[in-house]
Every structure is written in C-alpha cells, then in structure tokens.
Symmetry: C2
Subunit: 586 residues, 2 copies
C-alpha cells in the first residue's frame, strides 16, 4: 500500500522507525519556526512535524501550503513528542517528515470536518461524503458493521442459515404501500419491492430449511417521518418446529449476546408483559421500563364524588411523579398544555401534591375530602414530595395521553438514561384491530399470524378478542423487533383472509402460492424480524436512524447528494410501456 502504517497505529515503541503515512490534513499549526500537521485517516490522527533548520526548506514550504482536507503522503521518522497528548492513542509520538507528497488537493469544505461541525442538516446531506469523514458519523457505521457481524455470529452458532430472498417480487394490497418496478419484458406488469421477505421465509420453512435468517433491505412507500426511511434493513428470522416459547428464548439469547458483545453489558432475563398489562400499566404496547411510574386506576376512588370530569369518564388514571411536588405553577401549566396538545388530546390535567407532612393538596380539592385524597395517596404509594398527575376520559385515548405524560415526566426527572437498557417482551397481542375508516378488521401483526388455539372459538362472534401468538421485543420504549407463530394450515389461512375482508378469488390471486404450499407438508413455524437501523441507533444512543445509515434519504424521499429520484428519458418510458400522467403544474 502507499503507506507503511495507519494514522492510528504508531506508539513509542515505533520511535526511530522510518514510516510512510497517508491521510487527510485535519489541522495545521505554524509557530516559532515549527509546523505541525494533524494527519487523519479512519484509524486515528498522527501529528506530523516540520522544523526550520532541520526539515528541508522546500518541504516546510510545501507543508505551509497545505489546506484542510488535502490528501497527503508523508515519509519520515517516528520521534517521541516533546509535549504529549494524552487524549489520542498516538499522542506520545510524532513523525518528523522528510518527504511530503500531495496526493490530492481539496477545496475548502462547506462545513467543518470535525467532531463538532458548523454544517446544517441540509448541507451535510448534500455533502454526505464529507459528513461521513467526521469521527462521530464514522463510528456510527463502524458500530453498524460490528452489530451485523455479531448478529451473524450468534445466529450462525445456532445453525441458522442465511438465505437471500428476491427483491423483485409481487405487489400485494395488504400492509403499507409498495414501491413497484415496471417490467420491460412483461408489458403491463410490475414487480414490487418487498416490505419484508415474509412469504419467502415461510416458504423456506415449508422447504425444510428449519432455521433461516437474513439481514435484508426492505421497502415501504410511506410518507416519511424523522425515524422512517423508504428503504430500511431488517434482521429477518424464521424457525420450524417451534412454539412461541422457543422463539422468545432464542431471541432473548440474541439480544443478550448483542449487548454483551457490542456494549459489554450483561442483561438479565427479559421480563414478559401481556399486551393487556402493557396498555393498563403503561398505556403503550412499547413501554419504556427504564423507570416504573405505573398507571394507577382511580375509578373506584375518584368517581361518584361530584367531580363531573371524573364522573363522566370511562377511565380515571394517574401516575406518581416521585419527588416532583415542588413543581411550580408554571411547570404544572406547561404539563397541562402538554397533555392538551392535539396529538395528545387530553382535555385537562388534575394534579395532587404530597406535602412534607403527608397531607395532599390537589387541584380539585373542592370535590374531594382529605380522606379521599389520602386514599389516592395510598393507591399511588405516595410519599411526601411526590406529585400525582391524573387524566380522565375514554379509556384508550386516556391511556395513550397518560403514556405521553409519563414519558415526558420520565424525561424531566432524568429517568431515561441513554446508557441504561431495559428490554422486555410484550406478548399476547390481539390478532385483529378494528379500523373505523374502512369498517373492517385489519391484522394487527400481519395476515399470517396464528391465533391462540384456545381463543379460536371466538372467531365467529367476538373476533376482536382473539389473542395472537404474537410478540414484540421492546427496549426503552422502542419496538426493536416483532414476530409471531404463523398459520401453517390452508383452511385456517383461508379463514383468516375472509376475516380480513378478502374474497376467495383475491386471497387466491395474491397468496395462492403460499396456501398451496401449506398443502404439501408445511411444518409448524414462527419467526421474528428486528428493525436493524433502529437497533443500531438504540445501541448508539441516538433517536435518529438516519445517523446509522450511510446514505439516507430526506423527508421527501430524496437523496439530495446524488439528486435522486430524477426524470428518465422518453425512450426508457417507451421500453417500459408506460407514460407519465399529465402532472399538475407546480
């Protein structure tokens, strides 16, 4: 290679060696007849030095003419540094340069290529290749690489086999919107890009592959939010001859391995919580269990006391924000405004402070006696200094709103430490959810999820109450993975499609191949998929998956660096047998 060592490699035991380094000019100092250049590559930073009277004048001149981000190749001798830098591993040495080549010059970068940059989001997206030079961004991708490797190590060790499933597949009406690809060879027809390899991994189970995984790109043409990308990566897994218990144990092992291998963190057995309990105690199917602050239902204690808001409510429920009794009026008003935001939708907030003497002072004192409030305090296990926050209204809406308030209070009270990890399983999800808009049931997980056998009797008269053999892994309030035991019986699968409003012909046209496969000896099977981008961001301590994707797209689905998507030629349109609709003028 053009170098003998990387910029992260030299140590005092290399002193006196003749070395060649290559890299980028990070910084240049020129002072008192000395020139120092910080040379950077993927592996670290090494200081180059040039000294008047020792270094040849033309080389010092060359050094003085270097600009930021120039690519250079420097030959020289390793010497011990006079003033050592403890902050970097190479800080005890420097290279006294005897030969300097500029391999490529650089224009002045549009933002600082340093750990702390002055570049805005848009600029850094346009020059993503420069942003990727910054150590924090590079470390994110290094973390991602390590997590891929450890994922494979773990699954390999259990005899999972990685199988690549096709990217050009078939569009299906179920689930999110597909990206499609017009076929040139089959006029009038389209491929779709997979939202997940679901049907293929099930077919692999029918094929007897027994244990499958794949780290695979998936695609959804959805309106984007900060944490969504049109293309994303899944760790996709499936096993045969298993019960739900086997899957939970296998992937509990997976996440423990990941925490141990990647972060050096030992994780205890993952608690399991039913969906019903998660909603009841946390108002969310992905509770952040780094802190307790469980919901306490107050219907029995707080209704029929004359407070109309509570009396008319389906649910009165609250949390105990421990130690927050000192909250000022202003802070409490903030919280009230918070829960009244349209996206949260509560109509108001009731609070009660627990005083130092144990007495309780609430915002609705006129409706409740001291004894009433003391009963609340007991229900909340309240101590002096605690603040009780109570919402009331329709059950599901109120749970959701209180979940938001709980997370907000957790944040404010410093209970959501990014370096603490609290994984758990949420199990026993409902099979179906009712969609008011289309007036029909949707599959909560997907149409291939198996109902619990003991709930099957409900199918004709209370299908909404059927629980599924479906489970999510949740860490710190983030759903990192989810899966289910699948249907492996043609008749049950047909029944499921009928429940979801498919006609027999539609089910056959879309998923006939899978139902046919079930007739040729399909084994019991189930699986799980992890959102890999999200898992990386969680491990990395960031809220944004974009930070863990080399070349992400913006909220309009654009890659602003390469300027994609972009128009194609009329010839291409012709070959694909399509044309553009008249577009509205914009």
């Amino acid at each position: 290679m053009l170098r003998t060592h990387t910029c992260g490699e030299l140590r005092p035991y290399n002193v006196n060696e003749e070395v060649i380094l290559t890299g980028w000019v990070q910084r240049l100092r020129d002072k008192g007849g000395m020139v120092w250049v910080d040379l950077r590559d993927r592996y670290g930073i090494t200081q180059l030095s040039f000294e008047e009277g020792i270094t040849l004048p033309e080389i010092i001149e060359q050094a003085r003419n270097l600009g930021r981000e120039y690519v250079v190749r420097a030959t020289g001798k390793v010497i011990e540094r006079f003033s050592k830098n403890d902050k970097i591993p190479t800080g005890a040495i420097e290279v006294k340069v005897t030969k300097l080549e500029v391999l490529n010059a650089s224009k002045l970068p549009p933002f600082l290529v340093e750990d702390e940059t002055d570049g805005g989001d848009d600029l850094r997206m346009k020059y993503r290749y420069l942003d990727l030079r910054r150590a924090p961004v590079r470390r994110n991708l290094e973390l991602r690489h390590r997590m891929m490797r450890e994922t494979r190590n773990y699954l390999d060790s259990l005899y999972f086999i990685e199988v690549e499933t096709p990217v050009l597949i078939k569009s299906t009406p179920e689930g999110a919107r597909d990206f499609v690809v017009p076929s040139r060879m089959n006029p009038g027809e389209f491929y779709a890009l997979p939202q997940s390899p679901q049907t293929f991994k099930q077919l692999l189970m029918v094929s007897g592959f027994d244990k499958y995984f794949q780290i695979v790109k998936c695609f959804r043409d959805e309106d984007l939010r900060a944490d969504r990308q049109p293309e994303f990566t899944q760790i996709d897994c499936e096993m045969s001859f298993v019960t739900q218990e086997d899957i939970l144990n296998t992937f509990e092992g997976f996440i423990k391995h990941m925490f141990a291998a990647v972060k050096g963190i030992h994780i205890e057995k993952l608690p399991r919580m039913t969906y019903a309990d998660a909603m009841r105690y946390y108002g969310s199917d992905k509770p952040d269990t780094r802190f307790d602050m469980r919901f306490v239902e107050l219907n029995a204690l707080a209704q029929q006391k004359g407070f109309p808001v509570f009396d008319s409510a389906e649910l009165v429920v609250g949390i105990n924000a421990k130690g927050a009794a000192s909250y000022t009026r202003k802070q409490l008003d903030e919280l009230t405004d918070f829960v009244k935001r349209p996206q949260i939708g509560a109509t108001g907030l009731v609070y009660a402070r627990v005083n130092e003497d144990g007495s309780i002072k609430s915002s609705v004192d006129k409706f409740f006696t001291a004894e009433d409030l003391a009963a609340w305090g007991a229900a909340f296990d309240a101590q002096p200094g605690d603040l009780l926050l109570i919402l009331a209204g329709e059950t599901f809406k109120t749970q959701k709103a209180l979940n938001e308030l709980r997370l907000e209070m957790g944040e404010r009270l410093g209970l959501r430490d990014k370096n603490v990890f609290s994984p758990l399983w949420v199990v026993d999800f409902p099979l179906l959810e009712w969609d008011e808009e289309t007036q029909r049931y949707h599959a909560m997980h997907h149409p291939f999820t198996s109902p619990k056998p003991e709930d099957l009797q409900l199918i004709d008269y209370r299908p909404g109450d059927i629980r599924a053999n479906a489970y999510d892994m949740v860490i710190n309030g983030v759903e990192v993975g989810g899966g289910s035991i699948r249907i492996h019986d043609r008749k049950l699968q047909e029944q499921m499609f009928r429940l979801l409003g498919f006609s027999t012909a539609e089910a056959e046209a879309q998923f006939g191949f899978l139902m046919n496969a079930f007739e040729y000896g399909a084994p019991p099977h189930g699986g799980i998929a992890f959102g890999f981008d999200r898992l990386c961001s969680l491990f990395g301590g960031s809220d944004s998956i974009r930070d863990y994707i080399a070349f992400p797209k913006n909220n309009s689905g654009r890659d602003v660096m390469i300027d994609a998507p972009s128009p194609i030629s009329d010839q291409q349109l012709d070959e694909l047998h399509i044309r553009m609709k008249n577009l509205p003028k914009s």
Copy 2:
C-alpha cells in the same frame, strides 16, 4: 422445540434414550409385520420403526396411513439397527416409535422429492419450495451460506468494513439498462435500482472509509440467458491508498482463503496474464487454463504457399489436440460443423494428423510439402498421435472461433475436470473499446477506470491503445471478478467522459456529485467486485447460477412460483403519476 434431536443427530451412543423427532416422511416400507419410515429434515434422515406385537396397533395403523411428505412428530426409544446402513450417518440406529403425531398432511407432490427427481424444470420452478427440499438443492444454498460467511471472515480480518449502500438510486445512461421505480412523492421522477454500488463505494473512499465491502444485490434489466438473472449478488470491495498490486494481492488472498476454507484446496500463487497474451494464446480474456493447448500462430509458416484461404487471412492460427490423431472422418466433420456454426463463424477447419512415424497428414496436403508440415509440427511441439486444428481469417474473429474450438476439444479430451481449479489474473485490459454500431468508444470496464499513467499520452491520437489499470480474476474460463484502479481526479474524469461522448452538461447531470467529491480530497483508490452467484456455482461444480439462488426467475424474468411481475391497480398507477401505454394486442 417440538423435537429433542434432529434427524441427522442420533448415533449408537444414544441407544436407549427416549427422543422426539420431527420431519418429513421420505419413504415408507411395510413388510412382514414391520413398518419403517424414513424421516427427513435439513440435517439428515433417521429411520423410524414400528413392529406388530410390540408397537400399539393404532400407532402402526397411523404409520401405515402416512403419505410421502407428511410432517410428523415421533416419540420413541433409540435402538441399534439390525441391518445397518453405512451410507448415512444415522444408519446404525433407528427409533422404535411409541407415539406418533401428524403435524401436517401432504398432497402427493407433483414430482419426486428425492436426490434424483422426475420433475421437469418448469414444474420444479413452480413448486420451488418442494424442489428446495431435495438434498442437492439444499446443499447448494448451504454452500452459498458458507461462502458468504467465509467472505466476511476474510474481509473482516483485514479491517474491511461492510457498509450498506442505497437500493433506490439514480438512473444513468451508461452500462446496461436500469430497472426503475416511479416516485410517488416526486411526480415525474424515478429511482433506479443499482447495477452496482460503484459510485457509492467510491464516495465511501472519499469519506475515508479506507477498506469497504458489501455482499449486495444488483440489478440489470437485460434480456436473460441461462447464466443471467435480473437480480444478482456481488461481493463489492474498494480500498484506498493502494496500487493495482495491493488489490491483486489482497484478493488473491481472498480466493485462496475461500478455496482452503470451503473446499479444502490449497491454491498456489495466481499467475498473471496480460489481456494481449490472453487473446493471443487463448483467444479469450477469460482463458480456461486447466489445460494448456495454447494457440500457435502459423502466418510465417503457412502463408505464401499457394493456399488461398491462408494467404488471404489476417491470421492463421491453430491448436494441438494432443492424442486426438485417431479422430475419425465423422468426428472431424463434426468439428468442422462446430466451427462453422453462425455463433462461432469460421469458414472452415484445416486439420493435420501426426502419424506414428512422425509424418504429418493434413487436409490441405496439395498446397504444402512434407517439410512445410514438419515445420508446423515443430511449431506445435507435436508428437505422434497429435491432431493439429487450424483456423484462418480476420484476427479477432478467428481468435474467438479457435477459443471455442479449444474449449470443445478440452471438453472432448476430458481436460476440463470440475474438481480442478485454475485461477489466474488477467491484467492490462484496454481502457476503451470501439463500438461499430454507435461509432464511438465505450469504457471496457466502466467510465471510472483509471488509464495507465504511461499510456495517457495516447489519449488524443490513439485512445484505443490506452491500457487501463483494470484486472479480472478468471477461474476455469469463468470471469469470477473484475475491477480497476479508479480515477480520483476531476479533470481526468471529465476527460474520460468526453472520450466516451458525454457532453459537459450530461456528465455533470449524471455524475456531477462524484466529480464534485473528487475536489474535496479524494484519495487514490481502487477495487473489485466478484459475481457471487457465479462463484458459488463454480465452487459447487455447476454451470448454472440458478441452482445457487433460492428463488430464481426464468428467462422471461418471471417468478413462476409467485407469479410476478403482475398487473397493479389503477389506484396504484394514479398514485405513481403514470399510466400504461396502449399495449399491442397479444
């Protein structure tokens, strides 16, 4: 799990253990009051036994009712077998069944699910999930998995970092035809699926990632041949601060590791052959060097002797098919017919037999003296029993035709053993090739390939003679990988685009982002990509990459199992701002 052991696991030391097995019924024999069932899973086959008088009658009855490919769960005791089967690892034991559950029945499969099947290609593609149950097909995918793992092991050990590049990118006019994806959010615009991550991996080098790899799906909308698929997998690699020598050494190490780890074969240093020599001695840039049979040029010896076919030819060239002098008139006619096929295109074949006494008898004796023929014999280092086969005509065409004849003779003489591997590097490819049809130069590798600096002076007056820093790895006549040192200088890249007929505006619109990136400190870099499907088929000893793809498409780009591509709804078309052109009635 539903089993205690797999069907490949039990051995004599398990005798007397109570076990539970799950799997598919491979075969059933019912004879003299005994029933035997071969139970199969991914790991092997285990014999279940049922014996009248010992096994409960209802269980024997159950066993007798099993059909091929039924999925069962059998509980029983491991016993030593009376007549052992040495051909399978579990052949010394069987399981005496005490409990039998049918987990799923199976219709009669449309073809035999055995190593040797009676199913035709089309039927096996439609029921791919059943074909995948057959051990030879399953082993292909297991090989593929192992090769992925070993690829990553090797590259990881050298600090390569795997980075996922985007699948939704930008359509470019260069190279093969793109698959495109209409954008819903950006009306009138399209993404393209990558033919390779070329520009992204170069940008990663600009970003300082230093050593990148990715095992990645790529896409080409080309008319398909037997060994082409619209989606295929590449091992894509790139390194910074390297010369060609560094890349060749690194990936020579890679292929040696693969042969050693996957096939237990030790490979010596890879020979290097220039493109010019490959064409001259083998008539191909991907010579099969498992056998020698080099081309011998006869212009000096065979022209100006009065044979018009030779005299008017640009090139007279032949091979020595050692030991084939006994070929009959009929066999020689076959060879003549072979070279005269339109796709080979020779006008005729001249042959000369070397007799036992060393004299030579040719098909053109009337034009040549015995001394002339003896001189040919010397040029070919011919021995008694050899057969010389000679073609004449325009240089490139004749080389190509003789290459085909050489491969045919290699095949006939048994010199192309699938278990022998002969890898080499072909280097010094031309930078450009002239395209008669469009009357312009095309990049032989791609537009980002660096010319050899010493040839750059030819750029204005003999660009066709410029050699590139480009190289292919060839094994047994198959190009398994290819790459180049890249251009990292904006001006040279602009010059290259001009040579290829791009206007400045076109170059800027398509590749402006890359050329801009070159202005911010792009390091010298280069890389290589291996065709992973082909590498797998080569290692597996097959000519067809389809055998190594879980769910391949047919020659019309269709997945006949899931029936894709397929029409999409008018609503989908509307959302994507496109409509179908009027299609010709078919």
